[in-house]
């Protein structure tokens, strides 16, 4: 599956990544190579196979509905890039 630069730009936007214009051809070619390798999967018919999301057929454990966490805001916001009045700051969100 070969991609063109427009496809790659679309994917980059979905992933919120920026690709500098001079790099785009190389990025496209490398990703296309990877997809070509991946396309080996299409060499076999898997229509009768059930997809496997986890290695084991284990099921979800549940925890009791208890509040186990306490307020750690000050400590947790020490590693935050920008906060004010306990809020995380981001460029204005427009709706």
């Amino acid at each position: 599956m070969a991609l063109d630069n427009t496809d790659v730009e679309k994917i980059a936007h979905l992933a919120r990544l920026q690709i500098k214009q001079p790099d785009i051809d190389e990025v496209t070619s490398r990703i296309s190579n990877i997809l070509t390798m991946i396309d080996q999967m299409q060499s076999i018919d898997t229509s009768a196979v059930t997809p496997m999301a986890h290695p084991f057929d284990a099921t979800q454990r549940l925890r009791p509905d208890q509040v186990t966490e306490t307020n750690q805001r000050d400590r947790l916001q020490q590693i935050a890039p920008a906060t004010e009045n306990g809020l995380y700051l981001v460029p204005k969100v427009i709706e």
Binding site: D7, I31, A53, P55, R75, I79, A80, P91
Partner: protein
Amino acid sequence: MLSKTVAELSAALDRKDVSSVELTQAYLDRIEKLNPDLNAYITVCKEQALKQAAEADKQRAAGNGTPFTGIPIAHKDIFCTRDVLTTCGSRMLHNFVSPYDASVVERLQQAGAVTLGKTNMDEFAMGSSNETSYYGPVRNPWDSSRVPGGSSGGSAAAVAADMCAIATGTDTGGSIRQPASFCGITGLKPTYGRVSRFGMIAFASSLDQAGPLSKSAEDAALMMNAIAGLDSRDSTSLDHPAEDFTAHLQQSLKGLRIGLPRDHFTADLNPAVQTILQDAIKVLESLGASVTEVDLPHNHLSVPAYYVVAPAEASANLSRYDGVRFGHRAENPVNLEDLYKRSRSEGFGDEVKRRIMVGTYALSAGYYDAYYKKAQKIRRLIKQDFDEAFKSVDVILGPTSPHTAFKLGEKNADPVTMYLEDIYTIAVNLAGIPGMSLPAGMLQGLPIGMQLVGPAFSEARLLNVAHQFQLNTDWHQRRPEVK
């Protein structure tokens, strides 16, 4: 002293031949000496380590020791360590001082281990050579012009160069086994779910598994005793009965059935590596094992399937790095999209960005069935291959890597070349079963590893085979001359 195993050091500490403080200081000195060249550590926790060592000495003196009390260890920088920088090899986390400890870190700390520092790694564990690290490549202690393997390259190099007694690593597609092979040490990737992933920075959630990189199979068993077991904070952690991984080390190999995968021993494999493996097999046969061939008919599809599943999961796992709550944030963003795009593009390296894009593409509308679903189906076929093989054999033996450690920069031209490095290890992760690598010989001054793979929860059996092999060979005791 620094080249000793955990088991030996533990005995020495018990006999008071040495104190943990002395031992810790000696490792710290060696790190100081070697790290500028090898670049195995990103962060060294000098003061904290000496404090932990002093406390460990007290505990041992009081008779409260475990085998790990006072043993200086290293953690791959993928494990969150409270109040210590945790970078995952990425600029994205260059400023991330974790507010909490990973489960693995916590358990080893409770066992009394001393944390020397955090080891270098491929960025977000994405790589097979440790060259994708934001903190620069790690050099192989056997030959500093060569890579140590990846992604747990720093841990492997640190163990091999005696910069720690033992280290933790993680393995998503071979990231413990391949560097263990390249550095001439022992590495174990446990059954998926055996070791908690809590606090281990996620690459591909359904494949990631933590394990030891050690100087012997016995040490790996000791570390497994400390880190394995159910953790309620990880939903995928398995509720399997606790066991003593050292219990079966001494068991005889009489009756052991070894399977050799036909497709692993082909013309693609370096003939010298083949010869070394044949010699290793002879040793095991002399200990009572029998050998037959097995088929893993879908192994050749493991790399393609992996490069869908792992990037897909990674593409979502890495969405949290957005410059808002922690980690790298671009300066003066003009709007929200700019904040996201610049923070992420500045914070992630090329390989990480590439995999995020591959994963994003594989999950995007119209491609999900052809890529992600197809890969999950192949995953089942690969698991079924192993299930079938383990009906007739106890362990599968083969190469860990097609060759010895390669030169820095040698395989960077095309990502796919690098991806194919993991052809022997990746299927094991897709199937969720345990695998280990142990030194099996030397080729032109470089170590060669052999891989042992067993059915789910067979770690104790794999460690038994490896230990018996190590009792009868000395490859695992070879150490590089590090200048």
